[in-house]
Symmetry: C2
Subunit: 339 residues, 2 copies
């Protein structure tokens, strides 16, 4: 990195759960910011966000002139990205986009910082896509296994926290929980069913094949990030009443047999991954005890799958707002800054 | 059933979550009871339980004489079953035991009422074992598929409610949730980690192979109930902050290909099973909206697994205290009464 250079950084969607964490992580990691611009919809404009203990006035995205912005981190939903990301890119900014809008376009790289960082450089449209949270946390774990043993098939059941649905998702879990404990009636708004003390096997829209779009993201994004269209992925995505941290019960089948011991040794060296795997109480990661508010992807319950000659089971947990979204976006900005 | 005959029924563990529900279900289904005896440990003896709107005094199991009891429903933990079930059987009672103590003994049948009812008759020790909740709900769903298409392998991730750990499990979720909403410190007691707003991938003891005993129950019991040692089962069992109702993300591989449509048609006719499977908001079962307090096993999210030529996905939800324990025990008593 050019030690001298500092960057004008725009955060679009700065008042959201991910946007706010982007600001916190830019500060934490001392990203070389010359100027920080916080942008949001007209409704949120005029409010304040915090960056390095200073208040920053939120500006209206619709009337903001992107000229001079070096790096723009977008996390304001698909329609905002679709309209504004190309404008920022045309004005010369590198856009790092957290929505699914551009993820499956061939001329937009989809990058997990520890997994396929070099692809971030090849961005003909000036846009780098940030993967979906549930795929994101899986990639640093699967990458070294795929490189060494060849992953053929992945069976995955997710346990996804409400913060994946943004601040309103967290508010709904908190509100419903309090209402139920006070013997009040609840009314689902953000989620299609009651989420407090319940589970919902339905995230994002249903597709004609019976999978949800959230499930298909795991298929499409895993193949794109690992650069292998032959990897088969069978996902079930479920929302659970947890505030922060996505968990995944993962079963993989490899071309070459990998033992639990070999997997553990490999993952202990994997960048961004922390192995928590003792066969005793607490010897495994959970959203609250490990993931929430921290950076690594945690993996435990590593064991050979005795139902398949080359099967392996993993339990993968990470903070979906940090590594699953904001942290990786800032890490991508660091890659751009280091060019 | 001989319409005249009525039975002296003992419920052992009558003050527990399952025992209490056994009493309710015996009443609901009008089981032909001549006398109802409620038994528990010395600690609970002298208290009252309700049966058909009448109070029944709980007696001390240790000093109770089992002579004359026709049917004894045990749900008081493994050590109680181990000591007292043989005594009740020796005194002439048919014991229906909800613990895991006898489940894997060759001379004790393990029976799900809709699946292998005829095996209940063959009980040389006078004991019929009631399967574990997570296996129980899976069996009525898998049985017709296995019969018609041959199940070779099952990959399953569970989402198990706290009532599976008994009343103290429910109390711990309620207490921790209220404490956290009031910004108090919590202290895990019943569960190995915080359960409120969290997940715990650890139920029952770890085994040398890295699976937990709860996971191994799914392997052993599925093979025994379906009568096929060749069925391969790969489970991950996870406790979730839900009060009632276990959910399971199930992937099966069959010998003969089964389409989603064929599976749906087959399951619509399966006894004890209810298909809830529309590809829209709410078109799938959840613990709160369907399972809690009801009898059927619900199945939804039925879709072909595009990662395997003969793969199928299912989402299975049931009330773990009812079909998963008390209801099936009473259904087994009905089989005995009908002999």
């Amino acid at each position: 990195m050019n030690e001298q250079r500092r960057f004008k950084v725009a955060v679009v969607g700065a008042t959201g759960a991910v946007g706010e964490t982007m600001l916190a992580i830019l500060a934490e990691r001392n990203f070389p910011v010359s100027e920080l611009v916080a942008l949001a919809s007209e409704r949120s404009a005029g409010g304040e966000v915090e960056f390095k203990n200073r208040k920053i006035i939120v500006q209206d995205l619709a009337t903001f002139d992107p000229a001079g912005v070096d790096i723009a981190l977008f996390s304001a939903g698909g329609s905002v990205s679709k309209e504004y990301a190309p404008k920022f890119a045309a004005a010369g900014a590198v856009v790092i986009d957290n929505s699914s809008t551009f993820r499956y376009d061939d001329d937009v790289p989809l990058v997990v910082s520890e997994v396929n960082p070099r692809e971030a450089k090849n961005r003909p449209r000036g846009i780098i896509a940030n993967p979906n949270c549930s795929t994101m946390q899986l990639m640093p774990v699967l990458k070294p296994i795929h490189d060494g043993y060849g992953i053929e098939r992945i069976n995955i059941a997710t346990y996804q926290s409400v913060s994946g649905a943004g601040r309103s998702g967290m508010e709904e879990l908190g509100k419903q929980t309090a209402e139920l404990l006070n013997f009040q009636q609840i009314e689902p708004k953000k989620f299609p069913q009651q989420i407090a003390f319940n589970l919902i096997p339905h995230i994002d829209d249903f597709q004609p094949n019976g999978y949800t779009k959230e499930e298909m993201k795991l298929v499409w994004e895993t193949q794109k990030i690992l650069g292998d269209k032959n990897i088969l992925v069978n996902p079930t995505a479920v929302r659970v009443p947890v505030f922060y941290g996505h968990s995944e019960a993962v079963n993989i089948e490899t071309r070459k047999k990998i033992s639990a011991e070999e997997a553990r040794a490999l993952l202990q060296k994997a960048p961004g991954v922390k192995v928590v795997d003792e066969r005793k109480a607490g010897g495994y990661p959970t959203p609250v005890t490990h993931a929430s508010g921290t950076d690594p992807v945690y993996v435990g319950r590593i064991r050979e799958d005795f139902s398949h000659p080359r099967g392996l089971n993993l339990w993968v947990v990470a903070d979906n707002i940090r590594k699953g979204a904001a942290l990786n976006a800032v890490q991508l900005a660091e890659l751009v800054a280091a060019e």
